[in-house]
Symmetry: C2
Subunit: 456 residues, 2 copies
Amino acid sequence: MDYINKYIDENKERFLEELFELISIPSISSIAQHKPDMYKAAEYWKKLMLDAGADKAEVFETDGNPVTYGEKIIDPAKPTVLVYGHMDVMPVDPIEKWNTDPFKAEIKDGKIWARGAEDNKGQSFMHAKAFELMVKNNTLPCNVKFMIEGEEEVGSPNLGKFCEENKEMLKADIILVSDTSMIARDIPSITTGLRGLAYWQVEVTGPNRDLHSGLFGGAVANPINVLSKMIAGMIDENNRVTIPGFYDDVLEVSDEERAKLAEAPFDEEEYKKSIGVKELDGETGFSTNERTGIRPSFDLCGIWGGYTGEGAKTVLPSKAYAKISSRLVPNQDHEKMAVVFKEYFESIAPDTVTVEVTPLHGGKAYVCPIDLPAYRAAEKACEDVFGRTPVPVRSGGSIPIISTFEEILGIKTILMGFGLESDAIHSPNENFPLENFYNGIRTIPLFYKYFAEGEK
Amino acid sequence: MDYINKYIDENKERFLEELFELISIPSISSIAQHKPDMYKAAEYWKKLMLDAGADKAEVFETDGNPVTYGEKIIDPAKPTVLVYGHMDVMPVDPIEKWNTDPFKAEIKDGKIWARGAEDNKGQSFMHAKAFELMVKNNTLPCNVKFMIEGEEEVGSPNLGKFCEENKEMLKADIILVSDTSMIARDIPSITTGLRGLAYWQVEVTGPNRDLHSGLFGGAVANPINVLSKMIAGMIDENNRVTIPGFYDDVLEVSDEERAKLAEAPFDEEEYKKSIGVKELDGETGFSTNERTGIRPSFDLCGIWGGYTGEGAKTVLPSKAYAKISSRLVPNQDHEKMAVVFKEYFESIAPDTVTVEVTPLHGGKAYVCPIDLPAYRAAEKACEDVFGRTPVPVRSGGSIPIISTFEEILGIKTILMGFGLESDAIHSPNENFPLENFYNGIRTIPLFYKYFAEGEK
């Protein structure tokens, strides 16, 4: 491990400079005007890989944003690691809540502050630098491939097709991803489960125009009132989703497994304090970690309609909108969920309004068995760096493409992430502790070492 | 009436030019940055009155926007008409739904299209021109005073104090206002009742920051879900408001009066068609006209929270907001309603969130007896111009200041409006038919004539 620490020490300033340059590209995939930034980020990744020592690197066009692919094949007989990451980031609104420019990274209190500092520019960048480190020190023990995409935050709509079309190129023994968190600063963890995702936008239309709320109020159904009632009706008094069929395919977790999950350290008071709520709430009969780990959710991600400006404008609005998402668990299918959601939403709409449901994206849940040799390699690598065995956790988050990889490429994924819950990913003031960043660069080469040994 | 028609014919182009200049001032009272426009509009009104023949006219400062006052006293022994109108307008959003520039009036299909074309620049302007017409033709039969304010659309927060401080100056026998509608193009009507208004903004806060909906979704209460449920719970299955005390003071209208109200022509199919809805909805046991005329309403004027931009950003938001308004009927008191609303809203908030309720403004309902001499004068004036007796109607709209006038100045108000329901006031593409505009200018001098005769 000495050569690893030495290389990091000698190059840490440069690592940050390069990362900050990547961060400065506002590659927000959900906003069309940032399309040119996606190409800038893709070219930046190409350069990053070639500089690190890749045999080749290329920017591939897709029907959406580009994918950067790079590889170094040291011996076709040796095992191959495929690194997956994403160069796109979430929007930055509400921008007024940021303490710094989201696209101008700053170091403060031992953390990097910026959009993408962690998710996923910071974490994927660790892989580029760990690769560079192995190449420059002649310690790369196996073949390595990188696939860095630009549409993860919008559900990877084109990466499935890219995998289909490039199966041979992407052939590997394991996929390695750092896009998840550790349980705590000093407790490494490996994510063994991810929730899937279904996301819908709904539009409720009442009158054909905004009406005067005095002249019409009381006699004409108000689409915001109606939408509120429809939303309220979709969750029952036990916080269970009322959509028929919603729970049909949910994989019930055995009491034994639930007991094991309950062993993970969790301080409810600390958790509540960290997010500033007096009480938690969720599906009756499940613990907080179960509610996010093994049970589906039903969240309003956004709602809007009528007058939302300053002051007291009276109006009976024509339309109300909401963005609704559900985190899915094995074996819920997002396409089936889209069907049952649409049918139910339409069925509960009163005759006073018309409704439109648009599925925006979705993905399957994923489970990684903990007896996989690659899982054990990740375990050992973490032990070396953190001095303790990583905890296997079911994450509430979604990386829909992970289950797609398994389906199309037939390859399992190791989710060895170095983020923290406090990183505020997807929120204002996203950050990534420097300690985690460097520990990531330390751990990855050890994963390669143990993985290559195990696969020998 | 011949001299009236002649004067209008000779000056109609100039009338429009002057009105369009007034419309071009974007005097939106609810948006602070338009403050300078309020002064422009006030000065414009001063000029309008002096040009029309007022003895004097002055712009008065208030704690908010200015008030323009003007008068012509032909004989202190004669009766006095006080004209009230407002120079401020509503915001123009959603701006993308306008077919024309809202502040650049255009004539098309026999209508004036612009923000304020009707409410209330167009309608108050008729009074300035009717006044001019009487002065220039030496037919003004009584004294006249004008009070044009700049905060009607935000609930006239400073006009009560202005009336208190200028009681002597504002002394009059009747207040005349055109800020209401006629039943139809060919059916004149005089508004004998107005609903009051209560308006609140609510804020629901869940976690102290936007959270990742994957990592937290299912375990932390979502403020949009919570707000939707709270709103839904405030209206029962009969569309009655569930707030305790809400209906306590509602003046129940006798079966006799309800029968009379039912005589007003009303075509439900036409009504539904004009606003593009399949079904109407409102409080069980009341007709559409009763629901807007004699019963209180409960409308969401706006709602917002979380991600409302393009695409599918997942977030468990920190906050959700709504603007809620209730049209009140006699004898509901908006201050009492603000108290019961706040108490109830706070009482139904679960422990998972904190809520804040801000009353934004309010006003009392108003009723005008139809045996008032001034009411009969308005009736006769309308008969002369429209060839039929105007229908007395209870409007669902609110002009909260009207009941304040009665309280402070002790003067009743005649609500002789010339708008149409199709004028889309407060909405995109507000318009005012030229026919109504000129009929207004024709009717007003006749009101003065009959009123002066009656009061002799």
